[in-house]
Amino acid sequence: MALIELNGIEKVYRTKEIETTALENINLTVDKGEFVSVMGPSGCGKSTLLNIIGLLDKPTKGTVKLLDTDCSLLGDTALSHFRNANIGFVFQSFHLIPSLNVAANIELPLTYRSGIGAAERRRRVDEVLERLEMTHRKRHLPSQLSGGQCQRVAIARAIVGQPSIILADEPTGNLDSTMGAEVMDLLHDLNRKDGITIVMVTHNEAQAQQTDRIVRFFDGRIIS
């Protein structure tokens, strides 16, 4: 069953002087529970693709269908609610909020979801922290964590809302190989045990080879 369906996606950035085509006629389907890697040289449109799947950016042309919903038809508020309920993001630079401690960072997506009380939020955060073996760092600020720990917290934040899709933009790009391997193990674990569909942008061929499928990009187009 297709969870992500991109049809005829085109993304063009226009300025007064120049028009740049970032994505051209992208047709991509990702099935439920699939772990897909997106590879390609820098600037080929991988992150743009991820932003469009993540409903952070709108395509110039084409339709984005996630979980059978045509997201091209949704307004900004509906898109926010959809993202909150169904998508988790993991970024290369972790992007934890520096003023919030680990628990508050992880809790963030739940605070934007209606119908979940504070006690339930705390329970879910504790559950995720335990799963990622980060309970002892619960009250620490991001500045007090190592890179690997930051990425674990970022993953915890991505999964605390129990999304169907995780979009990971070079999740191991800022980590050493040991930490990177740990993060990859974690993502595989989420994919296998929880059935979360993952789309991961990476430059690391070895990590990509471990995933179900590799989508290769060049100059805004899928080449294989």
């Binding site: 952070l56 926010s80 993001f89 992007h95 401690n101 508050a104 934007y112």
Partner: protein
Amino acid sequence: MKNKILQIIYDLRTQPVIGWVTIIGTALSIFLIMIVVMMQQISILSYAPETKRDRMLYGLHIHIEGDGNETGSSALSYNLAKQLYGDLDGIEDISYNSEWLTPTDAKGTTGKPYTVDLHKTDDGFWRVYEFNLLEGRYYDAAEVAAGRKLAVITEKTARKLFGDENAIGQHFMLDHNDFEVIGIVADVSKFATMAYGEVFAPITSESWSEIFGDIGVAMLVKPGVDFEHIRNQVKGRYAVVDGELAADGRQTVYHEAPYDQETIASGVGGSNITPDPDSGRYTRYVIYAILLIVPAINLSSMLHSRLRRRVNEIGIRRAFGCTRKRIIKDILSESFIITLIGGVIGLVSAVIFASYYGGLFSDFGTASVRPSLSMLIRFQTFAFALGACFILNIISAAVPAWQASRLNPVEAINTK
């Protein structure tokens, strides 16, 4: 809420200059606004002995135009005051008392000469105002009618004139006349402009002319009676007076008397002009607006700077499902907490300043006149301070919050 407070603490730690300038700027703004509010409050709100200011009306002057004698404008003669304001429908009580205070030489048993502010009143004065009688009694209607040389004095005056001796029953010289002290009242603040005095003595009905004198009338209106009902009756009485004056080619000029407390507070302006409380009100509103808008512009730019450091965070929040409305709400509420912190500092500073430099609040121009804390700290003070904080916050934070909500999430996330 907890996360918002954590965010504010973090901001103050990471951007101390901007954070503290914001708080101090807010405090200064609220300080200035509250000084203006308190000035207004002291002149409008009720406190002893002017405890019923909302029901008080004052008949103060008469203005006569035409040829012949006794034209011009001044306070009322006793007879004219009675003719214009006596026995009006809707009045609970009335007092005829001297419109002006007379600095008068007094000497008691201490032998030290002391200049007192003499306020001549009738017996109704003790009913329209609520003095705190510490000892003795007030003079009654018969004693006023008989022109008895009796006096009610304030506690401070009693000490000045008689030292530690019990003042009740004591005699003292007041403008070379022998007066007997029959009552002692708590000191009256000079801010209670209509009831203030240090020595109160029976007023006489003698006036220097048929029309003009030194009488002011203080009326306590029955609860629920419209002030316009009283004014209409007074206007009718002016017409009667006009009929009497017509033979001499003279007429009264009606200046919307009697005046309520707000008009008195705005400044009646003079006996030959119509007071305009609206203009005072508008001036106040303009002052409030300036005091809110000018700092709000500065605070807005401060908030803008603080938010520039948080663009990446806003992008992340958007990615995880925060709506634009929620971004605006969160920024406004965070900013409101900071404004409240500044507001509390500003309010406390204003109260401290006002209690030490009360002279600024009055026409007396003396720093020694200090309003009491009970005059300054009222429910209305807090309500106004809170309202001012809220408005200041909306003006200063609305634009930056709206701009933050319109950020492109992708660009925001990629901002370093």
